[in-house]
């Protein structure tokens, strides 16, 4: 399966925006993780932004960065949102409320608890009618989302916006799922054409003993291991490097997604 990459959005400590992160990922500037400024998520109407969760604002921020780069109208682009845990902050608030004798659940909090909350807010922000999928595959959520998005591009011969995100898990839920750093990434994928700036060949292989390896930069590798959405870092580093190369992403213990990159002029 071959796809073109038309746009990238990125948000994580020390990696704010794709353009300013490229030099860091390519090793030309040091990686200095700093607290991420509250994302503006300017596509969201003010009312929706006011009541949205962190997940929604992070996901919308990277989605709009990627879509603007692609030059596509978001109304035309189906979406795949992938996240290991989804709205963990909302679950914390809901479960606290449900542990009280009154159990007075807020209706807004309840509708924000679904796994497709970010996808739904993106749909409202862009008034889109296209298909939208939200999925999870625990630590391999990025690879699974990529597979769904690439399959959709190839079957429908139409662009797809992929958004992967997981936010820090609040206490006490972080005892059970310790994610300490936020990470969100978006890719606009499309059928390849002669003038596509970057191309990627995707296939599935039975897992081999060599594994996927770790990143050269130990700080980036810690980020990769901390957050399921950051499992995309080897791909982002390869694109930022501008060359080709092969990236392997685990999909369960039994399979690997093999990504072969072509020319990367973005």
């Amino acid at each position: 399966m071959k796809v073109a990459i038309l746009g990238i959005g990125l948000l994580a400590p020390g990696l704010v925006g794709w353009e300013s992160s490229r030099a860091v990922l390519a090793g030309r500037r040091p990686f200095q993780p700093e607290e991420v400024p509250e994302p503006e998520a300017a596509f969201l109407p003010p009312n929706e932004r006011r009541r949205s969760s962190d997940c929604v604002r992070w996901a919308v921020e990277v989605a709009q960065e990627a879509i603007v780069q692609s030059g596509l109208d978001p109304v035309d682009v189906p979406t795949v949102f992938t996240s290991s845990g989804g709205e963990m902050g909302v679950f914390d608030k809901l479960c606290r409320t449900l542990a009280t004798p009154e159990r007075m659940v807020s209706p807004t909090l309840f509708h924000q608890s679904v796994h497709n909350t970010a996808a739904g807010y993106w749909g409202i922000a862009t008034a889109g009618r296209q298909s939208s999928t939200a999925l999870s595959c625990y630590d391999d959520s990025f690879a699974a989302g990529l597979l769904e998005a690439v399959a959709m591009v190839c079957v429908e011969q139409w662009p797809v916006l992929l958004v992967a995100y997981d936010l820090p898990v609040p206490a006490p839920l972080n005892e059970a799922r310790p994610i300490a750093t936020g990470f969100a990434v978006a890719l606009v994928l499309a059928p390849p054409s002669d003038d596509s700036p970057a191309m990627m060949q995707v296939r599935l292989e039975t897992a081999c003993a060599e594994g996927t390896g770790c990143l050269e930069n130990p700080a980036l590798d810690r980020l990769r291991q901390d957050n399921p959405a950051a499992r995309s870092l080897p791909l982002l580093i390869a694109i930022a490097g501008g060359g080709g190369g092969t990236v392997r992403l685990n999909l369960h213990d039994s399979q690997q997604c093999i990504l072969e990159l072509g020319s990367c002029r973005t």
């Binding site: 290991s84 679950f91 209706p107 679904v114 497709n116 807010y121 889109g128 298909s131 369960h252």
Partner: protein, 405 residues
Amino acid sequence: MLRSVRPMTPLVLSAYTLVTANGRGVGPVLQALRERRSGLKPCDFEDVTLKTYVGRVAGLEDFSLDYEIERFDCRNNRLAWLGLQQDGFMVAVAEAKQRYGAHRIAVVMGTSTSGILETEHAYRTRDPGTDGLPNWYRTRYRYTHNMFSLGHFVRTCLGLQGPAMVISTACSSSAKVFATAARLMQAGLCDAAIVGGVDSLCHTTLYGFSALQLLSAGPCRPCDEDRDGLSLAEAAGYALLESNERISGRGAVALLGYGESTDGYHMSHPHPEGAGAVRAIEDSLLRAGIRPEAIEYVNLHGTATAANDSVEDKAVYSIFGARPACSSTKGWTGHTLGAAGITEAVISALCLTHGLMPGTLNCRRVDPSLKSRVLRENQTGSLSCVVSNIFGFGGNNCSLVLGKL
């Protein structure tokens, strides 16, 4: 940009099964449909004090998962396990494994709340001093509450090694699994797929829908002029999807088309004109390569909320007029949320196989503002092509076309 929807190759449902409050396996479900016996009862789930009816699957409290799969033990995965035991489904999967190999069968499951009940229980027993969660919970989140738990569990029970994921788009989750599986197969990433959905009762959805004032005090009454909300329920269902080119599917029920869309309108209210619903139904017909006239029966989403039934009616009528018979089966099963897609796909398969069109249970007088031909009494007669609609939170819509080959 103009998008063209491409016709798809039919995918045979070479095995399928369903557990709802009406019983375990397709036999009891079909019998309940024929005898017009609802599975809804006054809510007796845990210590919930809401005045509402639920479709609770009996017996989930009376067993736990065996040693090898003990880490997955929670209400949702017990229900998933119960579903796998029915209708010879495990045998059919074992045979498919012989045909294709474990790496070539995908698992695509749908759920809305997964095992969140475990987290709800854990929060009730937090340490009053440290706010910490109990020890038993810490290692269990991954295998119970996490959204992928269900996919991980089903893949483990079936011994499969292909791609797996859990789709969670609220109520449309286990309708969309058919679309994702069809794409994975068409893209050559697998040769067959297990699709399905499992959702179980929990406090989050009971108190959440109550807060939205969408729960009926009695058994839900889809399409009734006095309908006043939905009844929550639980279910587990599965289908084995195989390409018609690989196995002889003559006479079998097959997925002919799917259509997915979003409303882009509101998180918990449908688009007033049903614009997203229309698009989902139209795309499902285009993928099936058939005209609206070919559809004989529409299994409505029909949740029995005032808004859903009236908006869905607008959408269905605008495409089909008043020609095909329409009904909601939620009066039998209740609204099984993330399992509603597979529940109604399997019911649609039973309707096709047995020539049954169930009349909407608990609908005493059809809302006179609805224009579609809503059935109140069961009808029998040969069926060849039906549509099943599922719409959900986030304005997420999915329609399936199922037919006999």
